[in-house]
């Protein structure tokens, strides 16, 4: 008798699971036909928790929820210069239920041709942030300025270590450009932001390639300082720090953080998202966030502008990287 009951139990359990598994795709389809978005949109951050992309997603996720009335749960999927997270985005259907942060470093992988995705796989939604990158050294470092750093890098090529995000990133392009000009360093990839920052604070590396906003707490507490900003002009917040162009290095691939969806997503849905991000970008909260992050005031671009921008960035990355390859 008891044995029989157990058998029934097992059967009931098995059937419940079978039914649940079969039913779930139909359920999704039914709701997706209605108004978009009608349920939570997965917000993928292809980087570790605590980093700049993560902070941006968490800030905008909350603001977006107020505009579109559905939650935007943030998921951190770090690894492979963003490749792991983008793979996750592309593994989901093109129904607008998943969006991802897309940053210059991931974009650079396309130029350096080790990417697991193609430009045609993704659809830009909006650009949220634009800011230049810097080289930082520890406050107690023996390098007081770019001149010190440059001198030693040229005297002993391939001995100074610079912490970067990963191979094939913007960091990689910029540093290999410097290498072609005689400043040769060892790039050490740290995909976890915390390990990257410890590496410079603990002087396990000589310098850190990073955007200022991501390391604000170490700058304000005087643990690290910038020695050069990459681009054609100095950054207003650090007037005494030279820009790379005035030093004779014409490279300036700014860091950007944009939003992408999977290619093939309904253009109407992309427009809904792009407009919502526009509203988010106009809030005083987000403007304050941009300033705190040392980003430029004209950071926001909608779907069309962002698509143009991302394509032209890819062009200049290809040029910088290509010229190095030929040498």
């Amino acid at each position: 008798m008891r044995k029989n009951m157990q058998k029934h139990l097992v059967m009931v359990m098995a059937l419940t699971f079978a039914a649940a598994m079969l039913a779930s795709p139909f359920l999704n389809e039914a709701t997706a036909q209605d108004k978009y978005p009608s349920r939570a949109v997965e917000y993928i951050v292809p980087w570790g928790p605590g980093g700049g992309a993560d902070q941006l997603a968490r800030k905008t996720g909350v603001l977006l929820e107020k505009v579109l009335n559905v939650p935007f749960p943030v998921i951190d999927v770090p690894g492979a210069t963003g490749g792991t997270g983008i793979t996750k985005l592309l593994a989901a259907p093109a129904d607008g239920q998943s969006i991802a942060i897309y940053i210059a470093d991931s974009h650079a992988v396309l130029a350096t041709s080790t990417a697991s995705w193609k430009m045609t796989d993704i659809m830009p939604v909006a650009r949220l942030m634009l800011g230049p990158s810097f080289l930082f050294v520890a406050e107690n470092s023996r390098f007081k300025s770019w001149a010190d750093f440059e001198k030693e890098a040229k005297a002993k090529p391939g001995t100074l270590k610079v912490a970067t995000l990963g191979f094939g990133s913007v960091d990689d392009i910029t540093l290999t450009f410097l290498e072609s000009k005689g400043v040769k360093v060892i790039q050490v990839p740290y995909s976890k932001p915390s390990e990257r920052y410890v590496s410079v604070l603990g002087t396990h590396v000589d310098a850190l390639y990073e955007q200022a906003g991501d390391v604000r707490q170490y700058i304000t507490s005087k643990q690290i300082k910038p020695i050069v900003v990459f681009g054609s002009q100095r950054f207003p917040a650090f007037k005494d720090v030279p820009c790379s162009k005035e030093l004779g290095y014409d490279v300036g691939l700014p860091q950007f953080r944009a939003i992408i969806a999977k290619a093939g997503t309904d253009p109407k849905k992309i427009k809904v998202l792009s407009d919502a991000f526009g509203k988010v970008a106009a809030t005083p909260e987000f403007k304050a966030f941009l300033e705190e992050q040392y980003a430029t005031a004209d950071s926001f671009m909608n779907h069309e502008e962002c698509t143009k921008f991302i394509l032209s960035e890819l062009d200049s990355m290809n040029k910088t990287w290509g010229s190095k390859k030929k040498k």
Partner: protein
């Protein structure tokens, strides 16, 4: 010192403000619940709660998250001990002795030891955190990837004691686990490995899927194979003791001391968290403990070591977070996020600019650990009562929890199939008496070992001697080598001894 004490006194008073007290309690309870669900890890739990803290003041927000962090290091213990299902990766080492003890009819006692260990480890690290924050924080900066690799490698050597007697089997199982860990896009160069063009395999196989499958589903399948006739672990009526007596606890004070210190230190190291602390401490206990031969057979040392270290790592991890702004683990990275979103930047200046907040958080650690132990203690009796239910019913719920857990990792049905597949692997291993633990160990620690090894090789231009020439990693590496050679030596001596006898 007096300064610290008076600040801490004010901190305790602040803690007793209703808002802080409520969120402290909520954090403890939610942390325990998150721990119970296999697959829903402590870090994911903290991430899920983070959005709720945006609207709160900064102090209750941090108190809430810290409380969750503390109690999450205990929450997975009951399921490990009672059902052999680790609710958290932290509790994989705990179940080796915890479940064995429960099978001997001492489930309540095993839970008692766990609480005792969490209490001692937690309070110890909290004291260190309050008194030695500044000098100890500088120590955190001396760790780099060679040290991370050495520590993880040492954690991997705890397999030596897990093979059920056969080192060969343990190593085969371990390397199988490491192989599983390499599936997917590699973290350094972005190369797909063993993916066979399948998007799911590209994403990699989550260690949680393996853990929940091999332990949870595997265990249920084993019981099903036996027709759910396993002798009940214990009847509530027969249960007398729960907490270990002071005399018993004092008897293994060395284990408590060693594990609490080690747990705190590993917590301070930026690349390691509670999980590594728990594995490494178990390994140390199995190598150098007084009763190392009996580890894995249900002795209190095997429960106390990983649990004390796991909870102790919390205080350790908060030190570099508060004093340097460096998150040392997944959970502290989220707490850092909460700080930043409230416009507070942790760092040396925080002790001056936000003294009241910092010391309230400190005080909440002490209260949280004690509160957690009380809640845990009260929960023992109802938890053990679950074992009185018919096994088939309990197994159904276990299955349900496993499915929910595996699905919640990344909301993918394919993960459920993977979990079932690993359930079958676990079942077959169990049937042929092949050790499961090393495989799970390999999938958890494999990716960490790989990325720290690769970064080291790049940073030091493929010079492997660096692992031995840097002082801290050198010491850990030597300990690792000893741990691997010692059992071989013993075996060799045994064989020689036998030859002499004949």
């Amino acid at each position: 010192m007096l300064d610290i004490l008076s600040h801490l006194g004010v901190g305790f008073l602040n803690c007793f403000q209703p808002v802080n007290l409520i969120f402290l309690f909520v954090g403890i309870v939610v942390g325990l619940l998150v721990g119970v669900l296999p697959g829903l890890t402590l870090v994911m739990g903290v991430i899920l709660v983070l959005p709720f803290t945006y609207a709160m003041d900064v102090t209750p927000a941090i108190v809430l998250l810290t409380a969750m962090y503390v109690s999450g290091t205990y929450g997975g213990a009951p399921t490990s001990i009672l059902f052999r299902i680790p609710g958290e990766p932290i509790h994989v080492p705990l179940l080796w002795d915890g479940y064995a003890m429960a099978k001997q009819g001492q489930a309540a006692k095993a839970l008692g030891w766990t609480i005792c260990a969490a209490l001692v480890g937690g309070l110890f690290s909290a004291v260190i955190m309050v008194t030695l924050s500044e000098p100890v924080a500088k120590f955190a900066l001396t760790f780099s990837t060679p040290e991370y690799f050495a520590i993880v490698l040492f954690g991997l050597t705890s397999v030596v004691s897990l093979g059920g007697g056969s080192l060969t089997n343990a190593l085969i199982s371990l390397f199988f686990g490491l192989l599983i860990a390499t599936v997917g896009v590699d973290a350094t160069y972005g190369t797909p490995r063993f993916a066979f063009g399948s998007p799911i395999l590209m994403d990699g196989i989550e260690f949680l899927t393996v853990m929940v499958g091999a332990y949870g589903v595997g265990e249920v399948l084993t019981r099903l194979g036996e027709g759910f006739t396993t002798v009940p672990v214990e009847t509530v009526g027969a249960m007398k003791t729960r907490m270990p007596s002071f005399k018993e606890a004092w008897g293994i004070w060395m284990t408590f001391a060693r594990s609490s210190i080690l747990g705190t230190v590993i917590g301070i190291v930026p690349g390691a968290g509670a999980t590594i602390a728990s594995f490494v401490t178990y390994g140390v206990e199995a190598q150098y403990g007084k009763r190392k031969e009996e580890m894995g057979n249900g002795i209190p040392e095997g429960i106390v070591a990983p649990q004390a270290a796991a909870t102790a790592s919390v205080g350790g991890a908060l030190i570099p977070l508060l004093t340097l702004g460096i998150p040392g683990s997944g959970a502290t990275a989220v707490i850092l996020g909460a700080f930043l979103l409230h416009g507070i930047q942790p760092g040396p200046q925080i002790f001056i600019t936000s003294t009241a907040m910092v010391y309230t958080v400190f005080a909440s650690m002490f209260l949280g650990i004690i509160l957690m132990s009380v809640v845990g203690y009260i929960a023992i009796k109802p938890l053990v009562k679950i074992l009185d239910f018919p096994e088939s019913v309990v197994s159904t719920f276990i299955m349900l929890l496993c499915f929910i857990g595996a699905f919640s990792i990344r909301n993918s049905i394919s993960d459920l199939w993977l979990m079932v597949a690993f359930g079958v692997v676990g079942y077959v291993f169990e049937k042929i008496k092949f050790p499961i633990a090393p495989m799970v160990l390999g999938t958890i620690l494999g990716p960490l070992a790989e990325s720290s090894f690769m970064t080291t090789m790049i940073s030091f231009q493929n010079d492997w001697t660096i692992f031995f020439s840097r002082p801290i990693s050198g010491i850990v590496m030597v300990l690792t080598v000893i741990a691997l050679i010692l059992p071989l030596m013993k075996k060799y001596r045994k064989i020689r001894h036998m030859k002499k006898a004949t």
